[in-house]
Symmetry: D2
Subunit: 317 residues, 4 copies
């Protein structure tokens, strides 16, 4: 299903150069379908405020709650509308090799610039199985690996990464295992994006990381841009910590979803199994916004705590 015509066929080195990649939120209509107007606004804000790429349908974007046809449509939509202004990285990974192959073929066919690939979570597999899994999709185009053992239950060991890094399509790894692992890779010439917003400043400036694949940048893209581009900036990093901590007290994207609704940039609609943060946490977010300054956050409505009744939770969609 390869095609030579793929427009703007991205070179791996262009992916390697990205510093600020936002794992973009997927907003919903009250019936649970995608709210593409709100989505387009979110992407526009990312472009205007300096993000260089988005992950479409990552764990933050709730790819795990999409059907594959929704997921590929969203990738194609993003490419079609914004592909000239921002790199579009599709999270076409899966714990099923079949699904990863199918989605990655389709994602590149509709123009995504790179794929994000997770190791087989939940079902897990052996090291040889993991390598076979990644080798099934790596030939298709520029690829970022994603290592997050707290979600997958299984570490991608450096030996696997180093072996896959020989492929010309290997762009780098989104790594959540901390500075030592980051340094181990970057000292060997492997591109790393931090997968932990609270560590990304230090990973970038002290341990050789190229940048971050960020959740926080959904909210404050401009500040995250400064954090990744302006050189060491510990005071900003410190200033962001309360926000980042608040964001990850519950499994992501629960707090992010709540925050974006409070900022008035997405409707307060949750696809189960996600539910909003409770009211006291929402009040806390209002304060965080006021302290950091509303102007740094996306949107221009007043931040609100919202009532429990404002939220819509959907199980069938």
């Amino acid at each position: 299903m390869r095609s030579y015509e793929v427009k703007n066929r991205t070179k791996t080195k262009d992916i390697k150069a990205l510093r600020l990649i936002t794992a973009i939120k997927t907003p919903y209509l009250p019936d649970g379908r995608f709210d593409l107007e709100a989505y387009d606004d979110l992407i526009n804000l990312q472009i205007v405020q300096g993000a260089e790429a988005v992950i479409v349908g990552g764990t933050t974007g709730e790819g795990q709650l999409m059907s594959w046809d929704e997921h590929i449509m969203l990738i194609g939509h993003t490419v079609n509308c914004f592909g000239a202004s921002i790199k579009v990285i599709g999270n076409t990974g899966s714990n099923s090799t079949r699904e990863a192959i199918h989605a990655t073929e389709q994602g590149f066919a509709v123009g995504m610039h790179a794929a994000l690939h997770i190791n087989p979570y939940y079902g897990k597999t052996s090291i040889n199985g993991m390598i076979s899994h990644f080798e099934s999709v790596l030939p298709m185009g520029p690829t970022i690996l994603y290592n997050v053992p707290s979600r997958t239950g299984q570490d991608i060991p450096p030996s696997v990464v180093q072996s896959l890094a020989k492929s010309p399509n290997f762009a780098g790894i989104k790594e959540c295992m901390g500075h030592d692992r980051v340094k181990q890779y970057t000292s060997g010439g492997i591109v790393v994006w931090s997968g932990n917003d609270d560590e990304c400043h230090d990973s970038r400036w002290n341990f050789g990381a190229t940048g971050v694949i960020s959740v926080t940048s959904n909210l404050v893209p401009g500040l995250m841009r400064e954090l990744m581009f302006r050189g060491k900036y510990p005071s900003l990093n410190l200033k962001l910590m309360p926000l980042i901590k608040w964001l990850f007290e519950e499994p992501n994207p629960i707090a992010l979803n709540t925050a974006l609704a409070q900022l008035g940039v997405v409707r307060p609609v949750f696809r189960l199994p996600y539910v909003p943060l409770p009211h006291p946490k929402r009040v806390q977010f209002v304060k965080i916004v006021q302290e950091l300054g509303r102007e740094h956050f996306v949107g221009d409505k007043e931040v609100q705590a919202l009532d429990d009744d404002d939220f819509i939770l959907v199980g069938r969609y």
Copy 2:
């Protein structure tokens, strides 16, 4: 799922102006998946030789043999690679209103310029049901209706078309019911594309049709371009008749699939229930090509009769 960002959002009047629209063939790999490289070559040939639009996944393109995710992917792919050079019209119609709604939303989201909509074939419905069906999808974007009772078992009567024509998204109708019906519409200001290649010259020049949605233009796009653009040209029309007759002796796209394989521009792979024309018919095609001139046909390999063993038929894919 509406979006204001859809790139190159096409105006209905731009669709109304199209004269040569090719119902493009979908080529396959030996395992039955799409052969996107061959597909891209076919589209390029259409662009170079003057087609202004393609129908993706029409009956000619075997949309009826695609899963919806394949279908939407192909639309997104075509937009992404060629959308700046040629209009992409997705056949997102279905006999199931649910499927038509879902596919049309997704098709416009990935950037298609217009939708082609058939009335509910096989299951059929009442006139009121037909109107409800079309009204479920018409608000989504520029729309071409498709009337082909020999396939659907049910005529879309003029009263329905005239009622739907009031919508600003109504672009026109692909009509297969002959010159009288064409004239009835065009005299009332409704745009018509002929759905019958053997009638399209006369429909265009004598009965007010705007153009054709053509199968034959897969093979000889340049000649079909002349037929639609150069003014009355009965000698060319006559010259094309043997080819057109040959193309429709069996249900389309059987002959087209066979011909494109014989011309060496697609692999000789058929998705069942389609099977190649028998050898004597293939020999006949070689003669037709020689008589019309190989240079008018797509591709540059020698036309071949092929052996029965050259063809691959796939039922599981």
Copy 3:
């Protein structure tokens, strides 16, 4: 995917012996999902009043508006709940050979007793293609062909039927082409079920048909049982004609759906593109019920004309 364990593996001759087969209605909940409680009641009524088999997801049961997973689930459900009391024939046909193969494998795996197979409608194909299509599914189990050119746009010619009839899995044909065609088959030993309720009495008693695959028996199973079992019974046939005519004035199952809602045995929910018959037709049905006698119809609520507002039409489900 074959299995030797399939419980109650039905012999083709047991299928051949069936006289009254009901193309069962699929009832819906207000959100468009299946109403399995109402469905189970309908099946129970069929069993009690003498139907010997049901077609699940036929055109009457709106298989064309189901996703395949819904369709196979409904077959599995019917087998699981009623398979010991009534034969379950799954309409696993499709105009896509791939889909027909997949659905038929799955249908037999979940225990259906026979498959109903249509020729490729809408897309159509050549005679050789038609044969290849049927031969892809015939080896899987007992099979009934279905010929209804008014829906498919293409006749299955006797030569094809006679050729397929050699398979030990060929049970017979549901034929809508009239008495002559019926006689042609039955005189050659091919089992025929009439596909036209208005002709079924004569087809059965004068032209050798084994029975009927009936729409009308959804409403009056007991009377249809008499028509197929008691010997020539022209007075009953005549008495049923107004009901049968009323049922087929619009494409089936529009009138059937309306009637069952009026009888109070299903909720007045329509999946588009079907919409209820207009009020005057519904008043007509009330009269027909009164004339034939309410006691012959399924259910025990009073028949009602219903208001337009009582009906729910669903496009997304």
Copy 4:
């Protein structure tokens, strides 16, 4: 989509009484589709040798590598063929609430006796989200929860289990967190099945567990039956340890898949990302079989080490 007709509607207390439940292997044909004949043989062996229930499409049965229509079909097939002899528990859980709802509705509709539900792995959620997730499916029928943090990355805390245990549909929990957790539940009247074969004997006889949901019983169902039924039997437990250890050195079901192929009861076909154990491990298994006694293992062919070339790995299926 509820139905009162569901045959053999199982009472929760019948599920609570099960002691030996096998998480059954799904065998494949060389093209990756299900090998239903081999599957039926495996189920028959379980019935004959004393298993009381099977989990269909668990992590052992590779539900994570199935499409939902395959999965539901396999549940329906198992009910249809074996539902009178063995309880059929469908693993209709998912990290997507939508998918869990859809699959559980369908699973009960085709007759499964109980559902197995995992908490949302990979995507994870808050405690409130977890409760909402389970409450979306618990009303549908008898339910077993499944807690395996090493796969899901998130523990189901006792507070959640105790809260859900109030539902009449709550049958119990498959718990992998060890004896203390087991005891905590059983002392409070909550039914527990051990999810760890190496601990199941002690959990059952010393900590109040009702039984085991076992992987090992795929290989030696008779011995596992003795372990769960005959009373304390430490010598048998000790004898089984080398086999159990061997089975879990790599993520399950890698070793199980390899072992069943070596025993000749399934074809040596693996769906990626699973790959067979390497040759030395296979030689080890041959010795384990010889030491325990071939007669205790399923099948009657000689156990073989097999060559690497004997295995078929499939990524597209």
